[in-house]
Subunit: 454 residues, 2 copies
């Protein structure tokens, strides 16, 4: 497929990198008007001695933006090559959540160095943000939100936002606070723009905004942002005091990363770094992410093997049964994977809650019986030339039961995992397939042993 | 699991619905300050005779917002119950993309009625938006964007945005247009707020903004919005003229819906309406979405069955081979599902491009050989008590090969589907498992027939 390399157009980042590598490169001209994300990707691909002068050609605000887009490895590499005061300026200008991400990715020595360049208030802020464990709202929120007092007039509020614009993540939604920093409401810049000159913030703010706690799951934050089309989701503590905001772009990252994570879990691949690119992930890490489940499932499959061995006499007496074995256990596994995936996604999007189990079960029985009967007819047609009527009867009955039980297993497993506090996504692939294999073998040869003459 | 129903807190929508059902309900007071999405969910759960007066208690802008959040079925039900002039006012106040969604969901008679209540310019706009097929950028973009001229000063631009605020999707990012409506750049309200009074829009606008074409894939739009942390992605035609915008909340919907779609495709479930809730989807639709692939895969599995039948003599001579069959074909399928899922997600997020196939292949061989050898050792241990040395040797060699070939199939299949213009996500589940089943049977019994005495 090497010819595809020629017809893939070069990306903006590749253009920037190529331009920066020319001996007479006019770095400010090359970087002017370029997107920060593209500059970051270009710098990642360049050797440090070419990347460093390019980074230095930007003003400190753009440096901080570009630095925030770098992957961790490149942050570490370029960060180490910068002078101490340059590093201090960049870290000082970074948004608070990206600074906390950087801090989390450093070793103890690097963390100490980073704290060393910050003022005391910023240090405390960083400690607070960095203390939240991965997966919580606290780990993705930022503390550089815009805020207003309720008695400001619309022009006063606009002026306040203008002054906060450089140092905050966004001024399009501002938190409105009481004197003790409890969240009173939320106001949008749009509504301020539309308000009369004498209108006060408290008159136009949303007094009952959607909020979340810092210890909540980050998926819940993404769900709320998606449901309510929010730009900003305020984060409050148990006393209702403001502690941060989660923004729309965080939600997009969460949804995309969780989709990847769920897909990998579903395929029984272990956790991979969400920041990592599968093209660069060390092979040993890929190996480790995959081998655990594979070996575990081997021992799981032993039950299927033992099941087969237990029915050795039945098989020896009716070798034509073997012909249908892959079809039957395959169909059970496929039906199970379908139900499990439908359930996992419905739980992930919030369409279905744990309390819906009973209702889902009743619906699944109806669909699965219809599917099983259809499959019994299909396999009956497929097997006409291969087997006699009694074997076909065994196969048709088994198919109906196997598809039914596989579907119910697929529906139930995600609920059980959710209940146990585990990720339901683990259920949707090889795990449910392996379970269906065992039950398929037992049902098929159990029915055959009962119904066929020995 | 019925006890979970008691400890599930009632949602805001359930609170609203319950309050509206009380005989003395003060509707304006109940709905004041409530989120539009929650009101919509509440109205969906109420009978039309209770929902209609509630909807009427809102002003037309809130009515339009709530209407936009309703699912299609509820839109149709409440829309039909409204008087003609009420319907006209709501449709007139809806955002252009949601109006186009509504139009697309109607039958010919409904579409005609909807067009009848609109002015000519709006009708043309609706026709243009509704003509884009599902899955394209055109189908999710909206034409009610804010726009400015390049020679406006910052205060003039702010005043223009204030005037546009009511009728546009967002004023936080405005398109800057030439006299012939070509896109010259993009300017943020933040930068206007920070600009001096005499600064002109052209001096602060981003002259090289990220844009997309209306016929591009909506996933590409979501990828760009995520990569560049955009609020607004401008859509232009082949001459560079503005045709619309895609906003951050559209991107979030696309990523979430595509994740569900990819997960279902991966599990060989056919297309379900992205708008649908799996709890309410008619059972016949669920049945149809699942039965096609299941039956197709049955006929696929016949090759595995035929493979088994072809080796009947080998099996009859060495029944202990059967014990290892589920383990071997299961492991091949699992390894294949792992690689396929890793590849599908990497292609979906854009981390891997079709041109990377060669490099990915080399990496996969290295990982898969290591996995295969590990699995050979695992199955060797698992089988010690079950079989003699010659069968174990066959099993170990087969395991290494089956895991290797399964992994390579899993890696290759998504690339092949992408090349053929199909969705690579189809590869990640039962399809790859079924392929691995067939190759597993052939490899295992092929090697057994070669190496074992008959």
């Amino acid at each position: 497929m090497s010819e595809t390399e020629a017809d893939t157009p070069s990306t903006p980042a590749e253009e920037i990198a190529a331009a920066l590598l020319r001996p007479d490169a006019d770095r400010p001209a090359i970087l002017a008007g370029r997107q920060h994300a593209d500059i970051a990707t270009a710098l990642e691909s360049l050797p440090t001695e070419a990347a460093l002068p390019a980074l230095r050609a930007l003003d400190v605000h753009r440096q901080a933006q570009v630095f925030g887009y770098l992957r961790r490895k490149a942050q570490a590499r370029l960060g180490a090559a910068l002078a101490r005061d340059e590093r201090a300026a960049i870290v000082g200008a970074m948004s608070h959540d990206e600074r906390a991400d950087l801090y989390r990715s450093l070793n103890a020595k690097g963390q100490e160095a980073l704290l060393g360049v910050l003022a005391q208030a910023e240090r405390d802020d960083l400690h607070r943000l960095a203390a939240w464990p991965e997966g919580t709202v606290g780990a993705i929120m930022t503390s550089d939100y815009a805020f207003l007092w309720p008695n400001m007039t619309a022009p006063e509020a606009m002026e306040a936002l203008r002054r906060q614009a450089v140092d905050t993540e966004t001024v399009y939604t501002a938190l409105v606070a009481s004197g003790d920093y409890r969240l009173l409401g939320v106001v949008s810049l749009r509504d301020l723009l539309l308000a009369g000159r004498k209108t006060r913030v408290e008159a136009i703010m949303d007094r009952d905004p959607v909020t979340i706690r810092a210890d909540a799951d980050q998926e819940e934050a993404a769900r709320l942002i998606r449901r309510y089309d929010l730009l900003v989701l305020p984060v409050v503590d148990e006393a209702g005091r403001m502690v941060g905001i989660v923004t729309h772009d965080d939600a997009l990252d969460v949804v995309a990363e969780e989709a990847t994570e769920d897909a990998l879990r579903g395929a029984s691949v272990g956790a991979l770094d969400a920041d990592a690119d599968v093209r660069d992930t060390p092979l040993t890490i890929l190996y480790r992410a995959r081998v655990g489940w594979l070996v575990l499932l081997v021992f799981g499959s032993m039950f299927s093997g033992a099941g087969l061995a237990a029915f050795e006499d039945t098989i020896a007496a009716h070798m034509s049964l073997l012909f249908f074995l892959p079809l039957l256990i395959g169909s059970g596994g496929n039906a199970g994977a379908q139900s499990a995936t439908l359930t996992v996604r419905a739980l992930a999007t919030g369409d279905v809650r744990p309390a819906d189990y009973g209702r889902m079960m009743a619906r699944e029985v109806a669909v699965a019986v219809a599917l099983g009967l259809t499959m019994a007819v299909a396999i009956g047609i497929a097997g006409l030339l291969r087997a006699d009527a009694s074997v076909l009867a065994v196969v048709a009955i088994s198919m109906t039961l196997i598809v039914l039980i596989g579907s119910l297993l697929g529906l139930t497993l995600p609920f059980v995992l959710e209940r146990a506090g585990l990720d339901p996504a683990t259920a949707s692939g090889p795990l449910v397939t392996s379970l269906c294999d065992v039950t398929g073998v037992l049902i098929y040869f159990g029915i055959a042993t009962l119904l066929l003459p020995m």
